[in-house]
Amino acid sequence: MTSVNAVTQDGIRKTVREFILSSINITQLDDDDNLFESGIVNSLFAVQLMTFIEKTFAIEVEMDDLDIENFKSLSATTAFVVRKNGRRSG
């Protein structure tokens, strides 16, 4: 059986993955690929990514969230969105 949270998490991961793949010149992206160290994305795209997740998931990236660790990979970004969603509903 799959939990509701897992379904949500998978949905977030899928949406973010599709956004990254449609924006960047790559065909494959593993969950833990480091987006910044590998040079997959640059600072311009990082701002686009944060704007995208704010609009898509109706969350706000606050000053204290501005840590590259929160967005360094698909997994990290997904976990960040889940955490922010949890905080809002909790």
Binding site: S22, S23, N25, N42, V47, K55
Partner: protein
């Protein structure tokens, strides 16, 4: 000289970056553009840049949106910049437009004020000739995103004095930027060479040698460049790249700078790169 307030003329891509950088370093800006709508877009982009700046550089300060907004004045009247300590001009890469702007700046600004001409290719000596103070005109070529780039190309025009260069270097010191000073020829060092790359990459695409993705991948993976030439052209704006090539072609009278027909066709089709959502690549709407 203290830099309390800088006039930023032209609120496009680079103008937005300049204002972002100034505000992040505690300097206020009077932002001048002919379009009210462009000024509003620029303000939104500056606030977004400032909001996310700490993510990319631990040394950049955290500034609230209210504080950032209070440090910029938006105006369509050049006379509102008259009390500024220095002017950085970033208008469209078109000589007739620049000439008009510098004639207006000459009238609006006190004679002591220096002008930093932010241009892709137009000769700084030529720009200086549109003013009565060519000694106070110095060229600057800032890279995108301005607030994250530590180095800038500075161009000394034929009449530019050491004093003017020193004033500019002090301003860049406030912005934690290193300046590399070169002499004046159209396109200077950076764009005279980089535009050949971008133009030839467009020819390679036009000749169907391979795809845009593969052209850029070769530059990134084989040469170690951070971005490929076609991605870079999309970021700069294909209209700007086309105009810069036209300036280089006109200036040197050398066919190696003839603009690729595919590049010109994309511009005429309204595919200007990132800023229009389509160029050599298609960009998702954010």
């Amino acid at each position: 000289m203290e830099f309390r307030k800088i006039g930023v003329v032209g609120a496009g891509n680079i103008g937005v970056g300049v204002v972002t950088d100034l505000i992040l370093h505690g300097i206020s800006a009077v932002v001048v553009d002919i379009s009210e709508a462009q000024l509003q877009r620029a303000q939104a982009d500056v606030l977004k840049n400032i909001r996310f700046a700490p993510l990319f550089s631990k040394t950049l300060p955290r500034i609230t949106q209210e504080e950032a907004a209070s440090r910029m004045v938006l105006t369509t009247d050049l006379n509102d910049a008259a009390s500024c300590d220095f002017v950085i001009e970033n208008v469209t890469e078109d000589w007739e437009i620049k000439k008009q702007v510098y004639e207006n700046l000459e009238r609006a600004m006190p004679p002591r004020v220096c002008f930093g001409a932010n241009t892709s290719c137009i000769s700084i000596t030529q720009i200086g000739s549109a003013t009565k103070r060519p000694a106070n005109v110095v060229g600057i070529h800032l890279m995108n995103p301005v607030h994250l780039k530590p180095t800038v190309e500075v161009i000394r025009g034929f009449h530019t004095t050491d004093q003017t260069v020193d004033i500019l270097l002090r301003l860049f010191s406030r912005l934690n930027k290193e300046a590399i000073i070169v002499e004046d020829m159209p396109g200077f060092v950076s764009n005279r060479i980089s535009h050949l790359f971008m133009n030839e990459a467009a020819f390679v695409l036009q000749d169907r040698v391979t795809t845009a993705e593969k052209i850029d991948s070769i530059f990134k993976k084989c040469f170690g460049h951070k971005m490929g030439p076609l991605e870079t052209a999309d970021l700069i704006g294909l209209d700007t790249v086309m105009r810069s090539l036209d300036v280089l072609y006109e200036s040197f009278q050398d066919t190696k700078y003839r603009c690729c027909p595919l590049l010109r066709k994309l511009v005429h089709a309204g595919h200007l790169g990132r800023k229009s959502g389509k160029g050599f690549y298609v960009y998702p709407e954010v």
